[in-house]
Amino acid sequence: MSEPLYWIPTCDVRSETLPQAKAREFLNTHGQRGHFITQDDLRLNYGSQATTLPIKALPQRIWGGSPPKQGGPFEWIAPYRSDDETAIKEMAQDTPITRWILTRTQEQNLSQFFHAVTRIVAIFPQSLLWLDWTTVQWDAIQFLLLHFPTLQIEGIPDDRLYPFKCFAHDINRELWLADFSTHPAIPLLPPPIYAIG
């Protein structure tokens, strides 16, 4: 069995009038695990949080702590641009990046996106590289997971968990429900298999 996959249910509470109540409800429906994008410290016993911070017009999230601090570990959410390679290398050295959530632009066809992932994997530790579910899309995600056995997927929606679970089972990777808190990850059992015919 290779490295497990993590399902990190993520909830953006920035536009909620009662962010803390929303976060509690989210934790209750997700086994007390969840990662929250927030403006203020949510003061919760469970879950992890990140706050957004625009740097050079790229959406980035300062992650962890309570509240998350400037200069602290952060998540970087961006597509790949070959011009950025040097900057990425420098940043990877100077700043504690928790993960790079790689997004895909509409102009990147699968062949180009595959090339982008191949480049990043060469310069950036694979274990920190996550693919954004919404922009990368399911067909590409399956193919890339087969190719790069330590990639992780960000933003898997609740209603797509079942096919994801089946696929994780097919590629022989365990699936764990987790967040970035100190609470342990919870194993998600593979789906039952019924004999047909």
Partner: protein
């Protein structure tokens, strides 16, 4: 379980082309009610099947036919018109279109043979003489694990495709693909049967659209399952045209399937029905 060793290791710069296919269905009625079919309507008991498509109406589809890359003429098992109707239909299509033309299938030929008492060989020669270039794969669906339709015996289906090859018609086959079809034998029985045909020119891979049909318990295949099957078929049939409908596919899937060995994609340009 997904056979992991069969997935594309690299990607093409562009996917294979998408061809435009026009289908002419003289009637939408068919009594065989195949469990996987989401096109034909079985007539209710006592229902009088309306006359087939009027050949004169084809002229109205001149532009459609001329902008098609491939045309298929279906028959169905409720066609009341004689074989001469099909020949007239082919002649009419040929006046408007000069590309590849696939006509009928082994299942329909057997029905015509029984009704008109003419040998299959002669029927196929007439189709070719009027301008058909290929015989359809109908009945080949019986080769798919768990979807046997018993419309035709496999040996008959193979024999008729072989006769088609002798009269210089393209031979065609199909494979319905669903998520539950992999057992320890995998594709081996399918490949073995298909190898009994001297040369299979065109093989269509059909992702099962099981929703709303009698086989809804079989899941449609996911893209890597399709890619894996295409890879294996490409290995067994290096010179066969492998095709697939784009209807259920994303653009990403077209890259993956091209890498796996698909020769071309198609989409339905127009369905001409009465």
């Amino acid at each position: 379980m997904l056979p992991l060793s069969f997935y594309p290791k690299s990607l093409p710069r562009t996917p294979a082309p998408v061809k435009q296919v026009t289908r002419i269905a003289p009637t939408v009625f068919c009594k065989s009610a195949c469990s996987f079919c989401d096109f034909a309507i079985p007539p209710t008991p006592g229902q009088i099947v309306p006359p087939a498509l009027s050949i004169d109406t084809l002229v109205a589809y001149r532009n459609t036919l001329q902008s098609s890359d491939y045309v298929k003429v279906r028959g169905g098992l409720e066609l009341q018109e004689p074989f001469s109707y099909i020949l007239a239909l082919i002649r009419a299509v040929r006046r408007l279109y000069d590309g590849p033309l696939q006509v009928l299938s082994p299942v329909e030929l057997i029905a015509i043979q029984e009704k008109e008492k003419r040998p299959i060989n002669e029927l196929l020669q007439r189709l070719a003489a009027e301008g058909a270039t290929a015989l359809g794969p109908g009945g080949g669906d019986s080769l798919t694990p768990l979807v046997e339709t018993n419309r035709i015996r496999i040996k008959e289906w193979v024999a008729i495709q072989n006769i088609a090859g002798h009269v210089k018609l393209e031979t065609t086959a199909m494979l319905l693909v669903h998520q539950n079809m992999f057992n320890e034998n995998g594709l081996t029985p399918f490949i073995e049967t298909l190898s009994e045909i001297q040369h299979i020119d065109r093989l269509e891979i059909k992702p099962l659209r099981s929703r709303g049909t009698a086989v809804a318990y079989l899941d449609p295949p996911h893209t890597l399952m399709l890619a894996s099957i295409v890879t294996q078929l490409r290995k067994s049939f290096p010179n066969t045209h492998l095709i697939i409908n784009t209807r259920t596919l994303t653009e990403d899937a077209r890259y993956l399937l091209t890498a796996a060995g698909i020769s071309e994609f198609y989409q339905t340009h127009k369905e001409i029905t009465p």
